[in-house]
Symmetry: C2
Subunit: 344 residues, 2 copies
């Protein structure tokens, strides 16, 4: 028997569907041992929640048995290797699972980690396109004029012919590119290493390697960050990179907050070097009340939840897990396996 | 010689390019005889502008000579047939030129009218997609939370799998559909008559004829109006059609204001039957100050200028006109010819 512990909230129908994958699977799940979702599809739960003493015992029993974990267990990330000695594989519920895998100390083990990459791409790409469109169509001006009941004809702009630089051409970057190009935008993709016949070429008009970042940024009207949080991407958009951006460019970040030097971003916005920014992620979350980003008119702030789409995510998550569970049982390579050195 | 009078503002380089089309063309254009553009690409000019007495004389001389007009002449639409006795063809600067052609009484003449259909499709489709995305991602809530510096995680929605009903599958409708489908939306197109192997089928998942409008509206999460103003489309979205729309649906109008019964729309918004609306066109323009639309939070008001994209439009306009002028000289059918009975 293979013991699979589900360690964050999952609807009963999805739990059942995982149970039904194979007779060799034993599913361990108790709804009262995982944080209640704050909304459909939430995997984190309210910060004040905790298990009862009895619950904590039962949960530790589950972890002790588990060979497979569906999600990193709340309260037991740092001591995961110790409390789950039989662990072979963790299916994470987030697209960027590198940070949490590192916190769990799995980098030095042979425990496999798979991410939920792909599940969140659509909703994140929608946030990026919303940001671009509300900027190009000057929705803020329409809103202000409306407040004054002011009919003021004026010209707008178009995305047609504009250049969008996408940092990170993984699943999220590709989802962004494939929605931007039907608007007639040119996509300049940035990735760590360009391979021969790189599949990312199907999504971008040009590809740049990360070391040529400044060249990629120079002509871009829009820059979308779709990079995971890794040591390599940490503050990749540093003051020099932000300076290299075109005057009047617009930044969107749906990757990780630490990819952008936030103080340098604020400075560039204040100086008028950048026309605006739309941010779903921040260096520190929740964004501290004293952050100057709150007060900037030309900034959209989204509380790292633009990818929280109920239904869509849990259904796709369970589907991904079932597929991976079948592969695991058959000894096949898993989908979305995390490279524990590169952390993505 | 063929006398071509340019009757709205055009940049010198574009005037030159028209002059260069053919030696048989004589271009009549005086910048001081046409309203100055309020922004690059504007063809209407400020309302208080008028010609001097001398200018009016000179302008009438131009119209008297003209066999071809590039744009309907401000101040001489209603008496066009009388003041331009040699007129054979008018190239309009707007996509929906049916109304103005009717006002000019050209329906009963054999004067050809061509529209600027296609020029405006991209910017209009961008307005539609902006409206859909800011609604699905709840930008209003983000904005309000930001004003209070409030970090409030919550779920959002996705366009994936949502149904967009597009009224009018001409150039604008197709531009909308081809930008919406990469988001995973289903497009239900509505058109007057479905032909065998209808080319609109390349852009829609389903097609409905106008007489089946209610069936098309019933399941749509979003409805985008891309219809010209004609007697047939007048108040097509009447109270019954608006009632037929799905509870919580969202309406976007980039066609003509008179296609929608505005009072019924306001009622549906107030009753919560519709979730919101984004309008670039209105029954009366400018939208009167007493219109209740100004005060509705869930309504985006754009002063019929979301298609005013400087550069892009005048460049494409002049290109279209040169192409049509060549065809006219060669006796070939023109691009974008207006059906003066159907008015589109």
């Amino acid at each position: 028997m293979i013991d699979v512990a589900i360690t964050s909230y999952l609807e009963e129908e999805h739990v059942e569907s995982i149970r039904a994958v194979d007779g060799r699977v034993r599913v361990l799940y108790r709804e009262d041992l995982v944080p209640p979702p704050r909304w459909p599809g939430d995997h984190v739960g309210p910060s004040e929640w905790s298990r009862t003493l009895e619950g904590e015992e039962a949960f530790l029993d589950m972890l002790r048995e588990a060979e497979v974990l569906y999600d990193f267990p709340r309260g037991h990330v740092e001591d995961l290797v110790r409390v789950a000695p039989r662990l072979r594989w963790v299916q994470a519920s987030m697209a960027g699972a590198g940070e949490v895998a590192e916190r769990a100390g799995l980098g030095d083990t042979d425990v496999t980690v798979t991410t939920a990459s792909g599940i969140y791409s659509g909703p994140l790409a929608e946030f990026v396109m919303m940001a671009l469109l509300q900027h190009i169509k000057n929705l803020e001006r329409l809103r202000r004029d409306k407040a004054e009941k002011r009919w003021r004809e004026a010209h707008t702009e178009t995305l047609y012919g504009k250049i969008l630089c996408v940092l990170g051409m993984g699943d999220i970057g590709r989802a962004i590119a494939s929605r931007a190009r039907p608007f007639g935008m040119r996509v300049a993709g940035v990735k760590r290493k360009i391979r021969a016949k790189d599949p990312a070429l199907d999504y971008a008009d040009e590809l740049y390697e990360t070391r040529d970042l400044h060249a990629a940024l120079r002509d871009a009207d829009y820059v979308a960050v779709a990079l995971p949080g890794t040591p390599e991407t940490h503050r990749l958009l540093d003051p020099a990179a932000i300076s290299a951006m075109k005057q009047g460019a617009y930044l969107v970040n749906v990757g990780r907050g630490r990819v952008v030097d936030e103080a340098a971003l604020v400075e560039a916005l204040e100086a008028g070097h950048l026309a605006g920014a739309a941010l779903d992620v921040f260096e520190e979350e929740p964004l501290p009340e004293e952050s100057p980003l709150w007060d900037r008119e030309n900034v959209i702030i989204s509380p790292h939840s633009t990818d929280n789409v109920p239904g869509l995510t849990n259904e796709l998550q369970a589907e991904l897990f079932r597929e991976n569970l079948r592969r695991y049982l058959d000894g096949e390579p898993l989908v979305n396996e995390l490279d524990k050195k590169l952390l993505y």
